[in-house]
Symmetry: C2
Subunit: 321 residues, 2 copies
């Protein structure tokens, strides 16, 4: 939650003049987005989000993200739409940063998702996956299986300072996933960060999905595994099978899972747990005290990982094949 | 620039239901306001600012601030208007904080004010002062002459670590101001924090003044002195008399200064410099490294103070009596 880059008023007005969107009436930095700077920009015609891409986003990935958003919007997936300037350009530069102007998406994210929210999510995720099959861009997942061990090596020596035995437990899980990780599952573009704060609702209805800056090419069922963790556990760490069933079956109603995907889900869920455990562990150990962003608790994902270890079949998540 | 207090969606919806303002469609924390948490709240009818008052604002002062905003809005001063709930209440509670819902004010603050902006400011400040004369609330200035020495005592021993000789220079100035500070000047409600980021413009026209949380009863000309510092110095530290002249004469066109105010202005400007030098010095010495808010440079105000020491008459600011 931060504004990393300030934009001067003259600079902003000159920038907006290159678009056919009316005259700026307000521009406020919003306290969302850890990676980028976001302004809620109002003109006399409409509201927009102006995103300035900060250094954690690789510039060479930006055309992929922008093209994906355009493709999804054109496929009637509820998501922000990049806005073209008078010359037809989307990716621009402002205040020394790459930037893009994006339509404002109405809605709010739910702090405590209910089963009906999870069903809405399942349906929207399946539609997103289907639409992505017709998208010709591709991006390697930079946080997939092969990346976990190098990431772990950076935290290994300090891991037990967070919890005794953690390094050994991660090591064993890595060994297992590296030998058993399923291959040949249906691939496509996954969102890869479908946490509740990236999914907007108006009332009970999903109004859109934002923040495509982790999107990449990977097994579609891996996106579902990420959502099992992000949406279906309660604050006390218990797994809510009603929510999982609602999400999974709403997904299947749009895009039925193959037998291979069904069988892979428990291991995918372990992988998804380990991926967030590792990035959170790294951030936990490397975020200076008093920093602007408070790191998330890595142990939350250790608890999820342990839960999934005991799952023998995806039917235990409430999934009917 | 921070969101200190998170508001849950259910809690927010229940809160907004107690107002007749439509249905919430979006609510984003905005990265403005060092003291409070501010959300830009959108409903299907209008935009609002939802302010949650954090601990640096004294609860007992809140009715004064709210009543002042109501009075100014009713007096056709361009400022945010507090919104009443269905029971006619303005000051409410949300997420354990006192809070108020306030109309959204269009406009942007100017990073580099020009003389025409300064003239707009002068006129609006004079109108604000005149309107405040009909307001029956009062609030003691908690950062006036009598408060400067106790504030200085908290930084005195470390002051020379910021600049050699600083403690002595402040001490001498304090001695002088304590003996020469003018009494009996016309009083009223002053804004007391009229920095460019609190004054919105649409194009060249002032659209409103925000952030009344330092407003207090004091000499009206002291507000002008604060603005001389905040608006009329260039980034290189030079004083721009064209801007000062524009501001002062636009002010006078609405509310002419008395001879006593004219004579007092140079000393008021020294006092205004010392006040911000002292608060900035305190923050500079007491803000932990890596804190969310970067402290302002106190020495900027030392330079202003030294400038005003050489002023013998307000006519040197471009002011015609």
């Amino acid at each position: 939650m931060a504004v990393y880059t300030e934009v001067g008023d003259d600079e902003l007005n000159a920038f907006i003049d290159t678009y056919d969107i009316g005259r700026v009436t307000s521009c406020k930095g919003i306290a969302e987005g850890v990676e980028n700077t976001n302004y809620l920009l109002k003109t006399d015609r409409n509201d927009f989000i102006l995103t300035l891409y900060e250094k954690r986003v690789d510039r060479k990935d930006l055309p992929f993200f922008i093209n994906l958003m355009e493709h999804l919007a054109a496929s009637n997936i509820a998501c922000p739409t990049p806005v073209k300037d008078r010359k037809g350009r989307i990716l621009r530069e402002l205040a020394g940063r790459p930037c893009a102007l994006i339509s404002f998406l109405q809605g709010m994210w739910v702090r405590r998702p209910r089963p009906d929210h999870c069903a809405e999510l399942g349906k929207a995720m399946a539609n997103l996956h289907l639409a992505s099959l017709k998208f010709d861009g591709a991006r390697v997942n930079s946080l997939s299986l092969k990346d976990w061990r190098p990431l772990f090596e950076q935290s290994k020596l300090q891991a037990d300072s967070v919890q005794a035995g953690l390094a050994d437990e991660i090591e064993q899980e890595l060994n297992r996933l590296e030998t058993q990780w399923p291959q040949g599952l249906p691939q496509g573009i996954i969102h890869a960060d479908l946490f509740p704060n990236n999914v907007f609702f108006i009332g009970d209805k999903l109004s859109g999905i934002i923040d495509y800056y982790f999107a990449c090419t990977d097994a579609l069922v891996y996106d579902i595994a990420i959502c099992l963790n992000a949406w279906c556990f309660e604050h006390d760490g218990s797994f809510n099978i009603t929510k999982a069933r609602a999400m999974l079956n709403a997904y299947q109603a749009v895009r039925p899972l193959s037998k291979a995907e069904f069988d892979a889900l428990p291991l995918m869920a372990r992988g998804a747990s380990l991926r967030f455990l590792l990035t959170r562990l790294y951030d936990w150990l490397n975020t200076p005290a008093g920093a602007m962003v408070k790191p998330h608790d890595p142990l939350e994902y250790l608890r999820y990982l342990r839960f999934h270890k005991h799952i023998e079949s995806a039917s235990e998540y409430g999934l009917d094949l």
